[in-house]
Amino acid sequence: MACTLLDALDPGTEFRMSPPPYDEMRADDGGVRAHYRAFADWMDRTTPEHIAQKRGEAERAFHRVGITFAVYGEDAGTERLIPFDLVPRIIPADEWETLEAGLKQRVRALNMFLNDIYHEQAILKAGVIPPERVLGNEQFRHEMAGMKVAGGIYAHIAGVDVVRAGAGEYYVLEDNLRVPSGVSYMLENRKMMMRLFPELFATRSIRPVQHYPDMLLENLRAVSPHGEEQPTVAVLTPGAYNSAYFEHAFLAQQMGVELVEGIDLFVQNDTVYMRTTRGPQRVHVIYRRVDDDYLDPLAFRPDSQLGVPGLFAAYRAGRVTLANAIGTGVADDKSIYPYVPDMVRFYLTEEPVLNNVPTYMLHRPKECEYALAHLSDLVVKEVHGAGGYGMLIGPAASKAELEAFRQRILAAPHKYIAQPTLALSTCPTFVDSGVAPRHIDLRPYVLSGTDIDLVPGGLTRVALREGSLVVNSSQGGGTKDTWVLAR
């Protein structure tokens, strides 16, 4: 299915509040946590009128600049804003260090896994992951088997969704390795905060994120097919009607590279060219924001209007690099997710720094039995589902829904996984009645190319409705600036 901004922003709707959730700003005794103290003091000194005025200013600025996403199914050209909240999500230096180490470790292992399964398949031979889980996976691209990709890197850009639960421990909820989106909001949110409240940044304790486009370009250049000195990089977009088009245009412009659509490219002698007013110009690296299925009508979906005929042949010939590679979906599939900690152990001989959410794999009879007995406490996900489709949220489901799902699980247990419901952490947020806690998640963007790196920060999404755990932009979700504090 087409990966859109809305789908990609889907956080997993399953986390439900049973114990009191961890509050990012306030400790259990109500006192402000140390890393929020400077901000809390500023809030105390600032009048509500001033804040209200700034909120209006932010909204107008986002509209004028056109930081919008298209809404499908409405009049063509309908564009909406994703609400922006002024209270930042703040991460203290030591927590970030752990997160950073864990994210790098995880993405390194995931790239090694992808390289392995498309070549030697050592992890399958060692029996760490049952071969049929990988080879029989719809997301496994047999076309990629044995193919060499530049630098052995598959997921150049990974958007790893992280949540906090219980007493504040971090969990990885999902590894997005296909075409993760949302990074433009991370950058625009920071720009907006600095414009509205420059005084907050005066202490220079907030680490900058604005070099992300430079870092991205550097990483993309590093994976050019033959190590060309001046490779031409382009961003491939499905077009102006795609919901994330703003982001595609934004990243191309920030990197100073062309934003191309399928029709702008053609392939001759296994070489990709852009049609320019000065004649054909070779393209070496394509940061593609088009799904695998639509990339090349000759190799994949023949009805695709978005792709470039012959692109896959050029890719296979090693004449162009695609970022991300084709076939990364197998590594972020929900049926593979439970094995990621094992991948870390297998490839890196290290213990994983970041936790997975405990997951029951229902093809294992014991776990299936347990899950069926506790269905009303669990979240059940279809393994190949995305965007919240095919999901059961046990505590919120009716008896009939539970029963229907039970039958579906019994019919095909290998298609499902189950997880306990966790309470997402909350962060103070401006709402109609003032400031109140709302649930949040975090998506940092991990880049692989020269090395593995990420800017200190990410996109924090917030569920604006009270008690809601849905941070989806289509369902009342908003975003916040994310501050990582310097030591």
């Binding site: 056109g66 050209g77 245009a249 934003l259 049609r275 007013t277």
Partner: protein, 318 residues
């Protein structure tokens, strides 16, 4: 620059210019329709002043396929608001804004915001609102939005390829439109030969000049009565008159000179030839040849030039 980007920029400029010229054409029609006018042959639809903008814009066939007769309202609706007429002001602004949106990285944010604003305003107009506010008010608004966009472009944009394609689009469209507007007067507005040189004739020439913002310039240059020869000289041959064919060809020729290389020699040659005809052309020869014939020939050549621009730069085949 990507061909698609150049294509969008070129058509963005053409659509804005077309919206402006359509407004000018409707304005002159409106003024002319207020003059004392007697239909010589009541049965002839084309003799109605409101048929003129349709014929001039090459839309008469498409119009008569959907409507049986002309009236002020039906023509104004068709030319201003009709979403099925790709040359209506509504469609032109929509197309220009869509083009700008799809290549917004290639233009300045001021340009996008200006065009976006024009489109947002356009969507608030319906026929009743235009009628109650006065047609001239609305048509002036369209002209002003076009002036504003041109000003923002001129004032903010890097003089790169993108700028050149915008300028090329503007002047190819304008040359085409000026030729059409001028041709209108010569053959259509006065169905009866006996009217030539009469009072109605005079006022029609005056309206035509006003429509292309040439009336005041005419007064300054000639300080004399309006004659068809002088109008033709002003709008075809003089290069200090910004909407004249010669002036447009100067811009087109200069711009293509910057854009063309050895692969586009034929395009460069065509532009040079057409430019030379205006640069070295003589009024007497033109009038002897027949102004209408001259303009028809020019329209063919400018269309040919536009086609060549497309073939070379905008939608090349591999």
């Amino acid at each position: 620059m990507l061909c698609r980007t150049a294509n969008e920029l070129y058509w963005m400029a053409r659509h804005i210019e077309r919206a402006e010229n359509t407004a000018r054409l409707l304005d002159v029609t409106y003024r002319t329709s207020l003059l004392p006018y007697q239909m010589q042959d009541a049965g002839l639809g084309w003799a109605d002043p409101w048929a003129v903008p349709l014929i001039t814009s090459g839309l008469a066939t498409a119009y008569y396929e959907r409507f049986s007769g002309v009236s002020t309202e039906s023509v104004l609706r068709y030319m201003i608001l009709d979403s099925a007429n790709p040359s209506s002001i509504f469609c032109c602004l929509r197309a220009a804004r869509e083009s700008a949106r799809s290549v917004r990285g290639a233009i300045t944010s001021e340009m996008y915001e200006d065009l976006n604003g024009a489109w947002i305003d356009m969507r608030t107009y319906d026929y009743d609102r235009i009628e109650s506010g006065g047609f001239s008010d609305f048509l002036d608004w369209v002209k002003m939005r076009s002036h504003l966009f041109r000003g923002v472009t001129f004032g903010t944009m890097l003089r790169d390829e993108a700028y050149h394609f915008i300028r090329l689009g503007t002047h190819i469209e304008r040359a085409d439109n000026t030729a059409r507007i001028l041709d209108t007067k010569y053959h259509i507005l006065l169905p009866s030969v006996t009217d030539v040189g009469g009072a109605v004739d005079y006022y029609q020439w005056q309206s035509l000049l006003t429509c292309v913002s040439g009336f005041e310039s005419y007064r300054k240059i000639y300080s004399d009565v309006i004659t068809p020869h002088r109008v033709a000289e002003l709008l075809v041959l003089r290069d200090d008159m910004p909407r004249s064919l010669h002036s447009c060809m100067n811009f087109i020729y200069e711009t293509l000179d910057l854009l063309c290389d050895q692969h586009s020699a034929e395009l460069s040659r065509q532009a040079g030839e057409l430019h030379a005809r205006l640069h070295y052309g003589r009024l007497d020869e033109m009038m002897d040849f027949g102004l209408h014939e001259y303009l028809v020939d020019f329209l063919e050549r400018i269309a040919g030039l536009g086609g060549e621009v497309s073939r070379v730069f905008l939608v090349p085949t591999n």
